[in-house]
């Protein structure tokens, strides 16, 4: 142990934060050069969660890439699913029916809410507001249950297909959402009361982690982070995809671009996303599934009927399928999936009861058959939880992508992290890093 010398203030020392650090949610390593508690220099090392998404995508078929996209931003997996599917559909020249587009919007917006709830909740917890974390994560859990009802999984959703979505909305979806929206709004309102005018919270977040508008643009930052600096850029408004031009929603913007503004932007966006889902559920064109459900028969019963030649009888029943195939029956076919038979699976009744449907199904799932997209190249961007989520897809005529490049929005924010932290203090790392909302799955791919 050495006794401090009077000129100790001039000396700097290195501190390693991460890759595993209790205050860093996600694996990332910060190498700090400190002068006392002041940060003189920062170097950031990423890649600890690299899973070779882009490499794997090259050896998969078009639809088999969808489950890989879940793992990109794993708190808003549905937006990744939708972004990838839209990029591929552009190349294939497929348009999804309106009901399918509305379902994609609903799914994306629910995911955006879960993303923002996680970000606000986790960063509040790191600043000591554990109650807020519990409230918001509970609200997120309700939404995950809704996602579970819709897709069959909470996080690994794999919901979209090239040319549509897995299945139609469950029958009671709108009622359930209305119920859950109340609970989410309650949780957000309670958290708002606990945080927004809280002296301790404001001292930590106000005026820290400031990024100017010009720097944000130079670093290619998008999403809530850019909007907090006062630039109202949102892909949903700038380039309305799906049916986003039909909704009335606001784009909350900040003014100073500090952690407090980013917190306020995210809180306001939660409300806007809930509004979009409510409007979408009102506007969504009626699907055939809202008709009285036909009597259900197991697949083998339908097959037996076919073997007995009762072809007329078959038409009266719908297939009873496994829970994971919910919504893929005849009553929803055509509402949520494009009618291009070379790209989308037939309804389950077709597969089970007639040879054309069976062949159609197998031609799509057999190795090296599947969907063939002529050589082409394209980029499509959607608004992800953290900003512009883009997919650059190259097709070479085969049944899978030649190259998939994912433009992860948080990589661009992380590249600016040294700039955000330089000159501040160690304690500021926590709120700043929290508001960056680094999702390692998306950052490292």
């Amino acid at each position: 142990m050495t006794i401090a010398t009077p000129d100790r203030g001039r000396k700097t020392f290195m501190l390693n934060m991460g890759p595993q650090h209790p205050a860093m949610h996600g694996v990332v390593r910060l190498m700090l050069e400190l002068e006392g508690e002041n940060i003189v220099d920062v170097d950031c090392e990423i890649g600890y969660l690299h899973r070779a998404f882009e490499k794997h995508a090259e050896s998969e078929t078009w639809n088999n890439v969808v489950p890989w996209t879940d793992r990109l931003n794993y708190v808003s997996p549905l937006i990744n699913n939708v972004g990838y599917a839209l990029a591929v559909e552009r190349l294939a020249g497929i348009e999804v029916p309106e009901r399918g587009q509305y379902i994609r919007v609903i799914a994306s917006e629910i995911s955006r809410v879960t993303d923002h709830l996680t970000c606000v909740g986790a960063s509040a917890m790191e600043l000591g507001a554990f109650t807020v974390f519990l409230y918001l994560i509970k609200a997120r859990e309700y939404l995950y249950q809704l996602v579970d009802n819709l897709t069959g999984a909470r996080i690994t959703t794999a919901f979209t297909r090239v040319g549509g979505v897995k299945g139609d909305l469950p029958a009671d979806f709108a009622a359930k959402f209305a119920e859950i929206a109340v609970k989410v709004r309650e949780a957000v309102a309670e958290s708002d009361k606990l945080l927004t005018r809280n002296r301790i919270f404001m001292d930590r977040v106000e005026g820290t982690g400031i990024l100017s508008k010009e720097d944000a643009l130079a670093y290619g930052i998008t999403g809530p982070f850019l909007r907090s600096t006062g630039v109202p850029y949102d892909v949903r408004r700038a380039h309305p995809y799906l049916v986003y031009d039909r909704f009335d929603f606001e784009i909350p913007v900040g003014s100073t671009g500090d952690n407090y503004d980013r917190y306020l932007c995210r809180m306001a966006e939660i409300e806007q996303s809930l509004r979009i889902v409510e409007q979408a559920l009102k506007q969504i064109p009626e699907g055939k599934h809202s008709l009285a459900p036909a009597e259900m028969k197991y697949a083998y019963e339908l097959e037996d009927m076919g073997k007995h030649g009762d072809t007329e009888l078959i038409q009266k029943y719908s297939a009873k399928v496994d829970k994971t195939l919910d919504g893929m029956g005849r009553e929803t076919f055509g509402d949520v999936r494009a009618p291009n038979r070379w790209a989308t699976l037939p309804a389950k009744e077709q597969t089970y009861t007639n040879i054309e449907g069976l062949m159609n199904h197998f031609e799509l799932v057999m190795w090296s058959w599947g969907i063939k997209i002529p050589p082409s190249e394209g980029y499509f961007a959607v608004e992800g939880g953290n900003g512009e989520l883009g997919f650059h897809v190259v097709a070479d005529g085969g049944d899978g992508p030649y190259r998939v490049r994912c433009r992860p929005p948080c990589l661009f924010i992380m590249a600016a992290l040294p700039k955000l932290l330089k000159g501040s203090m160690i304690a500021d790392i926590i709120p700043t890093f929290g508001s960056v909302n680094m999702i390692a799955g998306e950052l490292d791919r």
């Binding site: 490499k55 050896s59 290619g220 006062g230 380039h239 980029y379 650059h392 190259r403 490049r405």
Partner: protein
């Protein structure tokens, strides 16, 4: 179907002139480097082998409107020909590191290029088409480099082309 607005107009610039072209675009008002990536066309026997893509956007900061995008394609080889643009858009620093890491496409004006996603002792550039997906690295695999027959190896469609 028309190209989406987020894709922008496609332009091709020879790799040697890329820097001048990008500087001109920046002066023209393309203030955001949306993405920088690369595609390896080895399987299609294209020469030069790589296609480096710069994606730029003209963003109106006050209104938040996208005033236009452009997609710059530069055919390049592994030899560094492209000049770094990290002084024009600071984020290019990381994106160039990623392209170097994944494809081994170098950039001049920046001799100290470091891998971004992979670790320093990683051998090869994984997104090249001649990098086998199941290849083991010296750090984690058998030293001889042959395919291990352990159950942890996934059976994958062979992707090796060329060689």
């Amino acid at each position: 179907m028309s190209a989406p607005a987020t894709q922008g107009e496609r332009r091709e610039i020879p790799a040697a002139d890329a820097r001048a072209g990008l500087e001109a675009l920046k002066a023209e008002g393309f203030n955001v480097l949306v993405d920088l990536t690369c595609v390896d066309y080895l399987a299609q026997k294209r020469a030069p082998r790589f296609d480096v893509v710069y994606r730029l956007m003209k963003l109106d900061a006050a209104e938040g409107r996208d005033l236009g995008r452009v997609e710059i394609h530069c055919a390049a080889d592994a030899q560094p020909v492209l000049r770094s643009v990290r002084d024009l858009w600071p984020v290019a620093d990381w994106l160039e590191r990623e392209v170097w890491d994944m494809f081994g496409v170098g950039f001049i004006d920046r001799p100290d290029i470091k891998r971004l996603l992979m670790y320093e002792t990683f051998v090869g550039h994984p997104l090249r088409k001649d990098y086998p997906i199941a290849k083991r690295q010296p750090l984690i695999g058998p030293k001889s480099g042959e395919k291990a027959d352990s159950p942890s190896f996934n059976i994958l469609k062979p992707t090796v082309v060329g060689e």
